[in-house]
Subunit: 362 residues, 4 copies
């Protein structure tokens, strides 16, 4: 029995063996989860696993006793511990949610998989693609699920955009251009690409059917030893180009993505309360005129509309989907492979960045 | 006698032999101008030369008889002609304003200079840096002025930003990040960088004291045989990085530049009617904490203010400045050299674009 | 032959004997016009009568010789004069456009009508309803046309809203709520209601089919001897209520109207470049619940869309329509009666204002 | 010992015997509170009393067992009850927070005061001014505190505006013009004025030193038996005029207040995340010119700035201030008298509304 409401179900592109929403023989047991990491995002993950019918949080794990105390005050009934290793070896839990710094993902996930636990892991998946490949292979071997927390894929906005692409409303994709800037250095161990562009790369991976061909990244390191301003271009086949502008040193917060299609164009402003997505019936038609220099360019400028967008909490949708995948032995579409594809683009971007924008083929 | 109001006078960085605003022995003769090109921008140039006390428009030249008719209807007293060559040989005129497609700039400017006429020329200056260098050398030899129409340098907004940089208000510059997108393919012979990024390159050249080191450009060609979506990074010394996002296929018009400084940050939205420039007392301070992983990052979030910005028409300021430079034998700061610096960056960008983002050293 | 493009034709509610757009036996003679008043708005009126095929400007009249000189410089071929009385007696002109201060409208219009000239007159029509009635009667008797320049009725925005009301898209009208504020004391002889609210009253008169029942106005006089901040409520039958907020002392310019209907709601922001009108599929349904205190209120929150709105200059549409009405002997829908209805509401508002918001029945 | 941080301390206009922030002999006992009403706002009140050092929540009271269950799940240690009467008679509690529908305020508050409990009561204070007067008198007699929850007075925005008025920055006040509209019928027993305008009336009462003279209100009842769209004007001495526009049927949410002063003007947009308050150095100067009709009006158009505004939760500031007032036997500035002044304006507005805008003298 799926608790994921139909309206929230992410459209599935690759039918493959990914989870369906009406599984034939669903398990009805609650998934018992241990959440590792109770910093900024951990409490959100705990709350959502806690509130679902299909899961329960058995334990919260963190190296900081202060964090554990916070967890205990909010959820007196949940066990807290600093010893992840011990806990993961018990049969008390079915799955582990890893909400810790990136550098620890690989170690914790490996330990979990080795002990037969499913893994829900914060983005970006791992520090390197070889770590990701090893984890994927391990999970495969043990028939365990890995889901990478690409939360945006579960928002009403991204799902609406995917629908517009899939049903042909936008037409051939010309470009995807995202600006994601604000004042904030939340990460110490990764640069601004691994922190912010990961969102866009996972969204692109979900929206753009084609495989990326090459990456170019430029940027600069001002304050923290890692790049805090960066720009990234991803070349796709069929002239689709993607561009991401991320910045920890912007005085204003911007979360705007322009998506240009042959037929329609989209502006997604994630900071708008109500009208996050605007679809423009605008475009350009080109035809050859009499002479070489006279192209007949005509602009189409029609209506704009802002469709109502599903407002359910994205993380709730995602975690509900995770428990269904585990209970019904289905592979999530945001699985380890999806996480790996994003890590590969980040690795390429880092390489390009180090050489001031060198083209890196994928 | 300067007709350029003091408030409008562009701040002069390089004192050199550039024009001053209170020249000692000004000529008081009117500059007689021929305007070549009466398409979209030409009428603005004619109107401004016409309205100034220090200049008069003697003739308008265009290959299109329709355009000439339009000119004649508006200014019955001004001579119209299709024969630039004949006109430029007469002693009727002192200067030529070239407001034609880029590919014709070099030929027309050379003819004008050879015949002893000063040149006011539309941006970008020329198609190649060698053309620009030849024209500069020719003007130098004949003691004639070249001014490249980098109109934005004469807006209240850019002048206010330059002042904020020069007086140290912003502190060390971290980045310059411009987005200049809209729906429109106004040019057939140049790509979107030569059309739109030229503005930003001329502004950067004016604002950032240092010499650019390297250029990276990426982009894609969808409709017209030339790139219509492009992204350009310019590396400067001292970790200043500039980035330009230009796009002819955007459903919405954006003209926003973020400028991040060590002390203050600026958002310049040129589409705002009143508050084009906002200065944020925001920033980041970093100090080393106890351990390797604990950098003490503190955010400064203070007031914002929007200074009143000079509203005089920029082109009027610029053309007035041109006539002063000619009358007083001064070199304008937006001279052929400034035009050449911009052309060099565009050439580098084209080279990078062709190789999907190859780094091009300047 | 109508020069008013079909797309621009104002929807006609009262078929009556108002002008149609495909007249059976159109005159093809040019209407010869004298424009009285060449201040702020006069030049716009001259330009439009001048540019149309169906009319020509024979003379411009103003008491200020400076204004006449400006007119002469722009239109050397048009006669200029300070003596309206003399001119209006000649057979040189067919119609008079009165673009002078309100207090002079009655006298000039009367003189024009007495001499057999049609009248196009700036809003508000006259200072008093009895003046308006006298002019209407005079025009009727002499079979002359009066058109009151309610320019907004010829904008794409207002025509689109009228269409949405007429075709039932909005449903029953709940309210019309306009805010029209800015920094500016453009008028010395009338208060802010006569200056700014006139626009809204003429729009309401055009959009709301019912006759207004009562007026309440409040406001205050700070600087100029006349009210510079004012608020006006107009009660209509069937629970439609209109409200107008006008202010000469606002630091920001606002031109926003909310229109609430039973089925859909409209936000018209006239300062938006592209998306002036937004239509919201939002509303409230009320049904009686179990108990007295439990009304079942449900909110409908659906899509928003911004229809493309006709961008032709409103004044051009209006003046073209005027010439057609004159040539084809049709009564314009924005005739003297429309002007009179607005003046009556303004008179009632003045009376209410003087007594600090006393209700004035219409 | 005051727990109210200095930065949050509301500026005190009337020194009287209102609470000071550095009381000489503070009590240090925790205030024991019973919160009556656990609907929409109640949980916020409970959370804040719960989180403060200076208070504890002893019991939550509600007629709905569902609400009580919610309360119990969140705060297992807090007693829940449906019997307010019993609880209020015990010596377990020092104060009562009344967060119930308006019609019950008087009864509950009276019971609390009669039993010697201090009262924190939701806005609007009571249904009638005589109820308010009776409660004030009762509290006075028993030396108990009443605080009316005018939360906005404890926001950084309102406190900053008050400071700008008090230090003379704005100069003489011309007008206060608030728009507070959205889609929502949250109240069944009161009209939109009692629901939404109460906020503005309490803010005006706090900001404008003078006593209001007269009230005019207009509006209409469409759906619910009570006015859902309403407009209210309040006349103050010295030509200060206030206007409030409230609407439950607006497709968009607006929370904007314009405040015009002789020297500066303020736009307060409460929906802005960062720059809620903008101060404009704009205005008008009038001087007499040569003739009667030529007033010399000059516009001043200078800088705008957005001061950083205190972001602490307003309700936290307010509840902390309440406990201080109780502990130190001080009268809060938002006491019963403040609540009564607002109720009197609402009563006058209701009377005016019933007679379609009749002026009601205060």
């Amino acid at each position: 029995m799926s608790t994921l409401p139909t309206a929230c179900a992410p459209a599935e592109r690759n039918e493959g063996n990914h989870a369906k929403l009406s599984p034939d023989s669903p398990s009805t047991q609650r998934i018992r989860v241990c959440v590792a990491g109770y910093g900024y995002w951990g409490p959100q993950v705990v709350r959502n696993f806690h509130n679902l019918q299909s899961s329960e949080v058995v334990a919260v794990c963190d190296t900081s006793s202060k964090s554990l105390q916070r967890a205990h005050e909010t959820y007196p009934e949940i066990q807290v511990t600093q010893d992840f290793g011990e806990l993961v070896r018990t049969s008390q839990i079915d799955a582990v949610a890893i909400v810790t710094p990136v550098r620890t993902h690989y170690g914790l996930a490996k330990m979990a998989l080795q002990n037969g636990k499913h893994v829900f892991v914060e983005k970006p998946f791992t520090c390197t693609s070889s770590q990701a490949e090893e984890l994927i292979e391990l999970a495969e071997r043990k028939n365990l699920k890995i889901m990478v927390d690409h939360t945006f894929l579960f928002t009403g906005a991204v799902r609406k955009i995917r629908q517009l692409i899939e049903d042909g409303t936008l037409g051939e994709l010309y470009y995807y251009d995202s600006t994601r800037v604000n004042l904030g250095l939340f990460q110490h161990d990764v640069n601004v690409l691994w922190d912010l562009a990961t969102h866009d790369l996972s969204i692109m991976d979900y929206l753009i059917a084609a495989k990326p061909e090459a990456v170019v990244a430029t940027g600069e390191t001002h304050l923290n030893g890692v790049a805090d301003v960066a720009f990234m271009t991803v070349y796709f086949p069929r002239k689709t180009i993607a561009h991401i502008n991320v910045n920890w040193l912007s005085p204003v917060k911007v979360r705007t993505t322009l998506i240009g299609g042959e037929k329609k164009m989209v502006v997604w402003n994630d900071l708008e309360a109500d009208e996050k997505i605007k679809i423009y019936d605008r475009g350009v038609q080109v035809s050859n005129g009499e002479s070489l220099y006279k192209l007949l360019v005509s602009y189409r400028s029609g209506d704009m509309w802002a469709p109502k967008v599903e407002q359910t909490e994205a993380l709730r949708n995602e975690i509900s989907y995770f428990t269904e995948c585990v209970r019904n032995n289905r592979r999530p579409f945001n699985d380890g492979e999806a996480g790996l594809r994003v890590v590969k683009m980040l690795e390429a971007a880092d390489q390009s960045l180090r050489e001031r924008g060198k083209v890196v083929q994928l």
